[in-house]
Amino acid sequence: MLAYLIRRLFAAAVMLVVIILVVFSIFFLVPKWAGVDIATSFVGKQADPHAVAAVREKLGLSDPIYAQVWHFFKGIFVGRTYSAGGDVTHCAAPCFGYSFRSEQAVWPVLTDRFPVTLGLALGAAVLWLVFGVAAGVLSALKRGSLWDRGAMVVALSGVSLPIYFTGLLASAIFVFGLKWFNGQYVSISDSFSGYFEGMILPWITLAFLYAAMYARITRATMMEILGEDYIRTARAKGLTERVVISKHAMRSTMTPILTMLGMDLGALIGGAILTETTFSIPGLGQAVLTAIKNQDLPIILGVTLITSLAVLLANLAVDVLYAVIDPRVRLS
């Protein structure tokens, strides 16, 4: 078990380094090869040549590529100082780059935005797990019934309707029509209840989309598991159907759901861009959207890295949970 864990951790670390290298080369090398001056993209297209030259020197863009990579990695661990002549900017560790467009280090932006997105993703995940899995199990047990068909129609619409549609519809009804909730995002440190009031619609909207997928996969898996021989054995022992379902069948059904959850959570943290935009939530998605509009490369780079990290960590967590659930994984 421990060797398994260490192997997974090691693999994750290697993966992260590879991701950094790839992302780095995309953002720094590709424009170079394409003949685009990266420095201009850091200061804006209409910047005067002196400013561009200053930025180039300050960012070390004329350094050889390996030096640039080295500086970047070093910055993550010990911080980094950008200087060109008398113009000195310090970026404390962990330095994921410095945005010269918005004149701020990338890391604080990430740390500000990350909890917001994490809250959105986790809250929605709880909702979709509870409702999606429950609906899926019920559908599997009552297959072919009105409930099953109804649930699957709702699930299908959940999957196919875009989030800005359901989001705007929900806002229109509950915020502006019925005035049940205040549609504003409030930081959890400012007001606990305000946070929940502001987040409830984004959670539900996001969960609706995912619950639909989870319901479908739960239904399919549960139906398959119920046909397994060991379920028949459980019944042959004289177990009540409730125990057969909730103990024997549920544990097996959880494995594919967990796999999906790991992927989805990771991806969501990387940017629930549509949800955050629709509900004006100041999360990573919104930050990256603004950065794209402003061609703010360091921010995009930072968000990409944090997303990769989130996906990696989520998958690692899933792998560990997997080993806890399925003893066969521990051995291989």
Binding site: A3, I6, R7, F10
Partner: protein, 464 residues
């Protein structure tokens, strides 16, 4: 698309690179000279020292820590026109062997010669002309046929793959093949799911026969079929062999089926052949204890012999892991005749009687190969406990009984002797195994205690 590409490569060898073309040329000429057909009885396939080890990787760096020694040194030959049956329990390597001789797997070591030509390490392109002559029939008629293809396409595939245009066209030939295996030729356009299990196996046979192969390797051809259908397929394969002069290697776990179809039979245990003999000698007088145990384990469909249960030799436990096979004779951990030599020295597959090769130090129905070695191993005593009295009495002339008689007096002496004989690191171990009486005196080991029990039991049985 890939099929087309392969077609071209075969039909226009000049287009492929020089080396490959020349190799296919030599092969083509090779098959041309051999198309005269080996006379019945001549060696068609010869296998020497064949090995296949599947590596096992473990730990942080996934280093290779061992290997599954699925096939671990096989020597046999298949003669033209005969049927060689291969039996053994699951994990004995019989299926791996089948895949090696059809070159679906790359051997780790050893040599495979087909019609005198070394095919051990031929690549995909080198094997292609050979594929006409060697075909395989698989166990599961449900998963070995592509459900999206009509049976016309499936049976005709070998022609397209080999770029062969049969006389009268592919369709006509396929329909002829279908009728040969007892299917309706009009079902040319149907899909596999429209057929029953037995019919699907016939489709598999038709596909294998399409290119008029010389050797057909059938891996459990009937084990997925119902009894009444099994007989149909067995008879069909019999008829085809007679009509087309086929040579079969039939791999199966069912000893009754193997006896019915085979001329010669190889019995495998843990990646090795323990006995290779013609059918009648093998079934009349098996020489290897494992063969004997295997045959006695088959339930006899005769309720009157239900009470004759005592004839049965019950082997204890399971087949050991092929990752770390037992030292010496691999069967010694379950054998009731095993002595010290079985644990230390691997027996060689020797032809003890004309047409009967056995790898055993203390064969049944034959003079003992290691008569000086008389002290039973602990494991053997435990096994003997499970073997019925008659069996023991029968083999009384061999070591089992002798050992029981001598056990008491020689226990100490032999322990000393073996400690002196064997290298220091195994001395302690062998001493423990050799002197159960001593160990149980100390009252430490319950296993040794039970062994002593069995020892006295076997003594009693010989007294009778």
């Amino acid at each position: 698309m890939s099929e087309n590409a392969e077609d071209k490569a075969v039909s226009i060898p000049a287009q492929s690179d020089g080396a490959e073309a020349s190799s296919t040329d030599t092969k083509a000429s090779g098959t041309a000279t051999l198309s005269k057909d080996a006379a019945p009885g001549e060696t068609l396939l010869k296998v020497t020292g064949l090995q296949k080890h599947f590596p096992i990787k473990k730990g942080l760096l996934q280093r290779q820590v061992g290997a599954v020694r699925a096939v671990d040194g096989l020597d046999f030959e298949v003669r033209s026109g005969e049927t060689l049956g291969v039996v053994g329990e699951s994990g004995c390597g019989k299926s791996t062997m089948g895949r090696l001789i059809t070159r679906l797997l790359e051997p780790t070591a050893g040599k495979i010669e087909f019609e005198g030509k070394d095919i051990t390490h031929l690549g995909v392109s080198g094997m292609r002309p050979m594929r006409r002559d060697v075909q395989m029939i698989f166990q599961d008629p449900y998963s070995s046929l592509n459900p999206r293809h009509t049976i016309g396409t499936i049976v005709g595939a070998p022609f397209r793959l080999q770029g062969v245009e049969p006389e009268g066209g592919v369709k006509k030939e396929v329909q002829r093949l279908l009728s040969v295996v007892g299917l309706n030729p009009e079902h040319y356009n149907r899909y596999p799911h429209e057929f029953s299990g037995g019919q699907r196996q016939r489709i598999g046979i038709a596909r294998a026969l399409a290119l008029k192969p010389k050797l057909v390797v059938a891996d459990e051809p009937v084990s997925a079929l119902d009894v009444s259908i099994q007989a149909q397929v067995v008879n069909l394969m019999d008829d085809l062999q007679e009509e087309l002069g086929l040579t079969y290697v039939i791999i199966a776990h069912d000893l009754s089926v193997v006896r019915h179809v085979s001329d010669r039979i190889a019995v495998m245990y843990l990646g090795k052949i323990v006995e290779l003999a013609d059918r009648d000698s093998l079934y009349r007088a098996p020489m290897h204890p494992y063969t004997k145990a295997l045959m006695s384990a088959v339930p006899i469909p005769d309720p009157r012999r239900k009470s004759a249960k005592s004839e049965r030799i019950l082997l204890k436990g399971d087949v050991p892991s092929p990752i770390a096979p037992p030292s010496g004779c691999r069967f010694h951990t379950r054998c009731w005749k095993a002595t010290e030599i079985c644990r230390t020295t691997e027996p060689v597959l020797l032809e003890l009687q004309p047409g009967q090769r056995v790898a055993c130090h203390h064969p049944e129905n034959f003079e003992d190969q290691a008569p000086q070695d008389t002290v039973l191993l602990t494991a053997a005593k435990e096994a003997a406990e499970l073997v019925a009295d008659e069996v023991l009495a029968e083999s009384a002339e061999t070591s089992a009984a002798v050992a029981a008689e001598l056990a008491e007096e020689t226990a100490e002496a032999s322990a000393e002797a073996s400690a002196a004989d064997t290298p220091a690191d195994t001395a302690e171990e062998s001493a423990r195994e050799n002197t159960p009486a001593e160990a149980s005196d100390a009252g430490s080991d319950s296993e040794a205690g039970s062994a002593t029990g069995s020892e006295t039991e076997s003594q009693e049985s010989t007294d009778k």
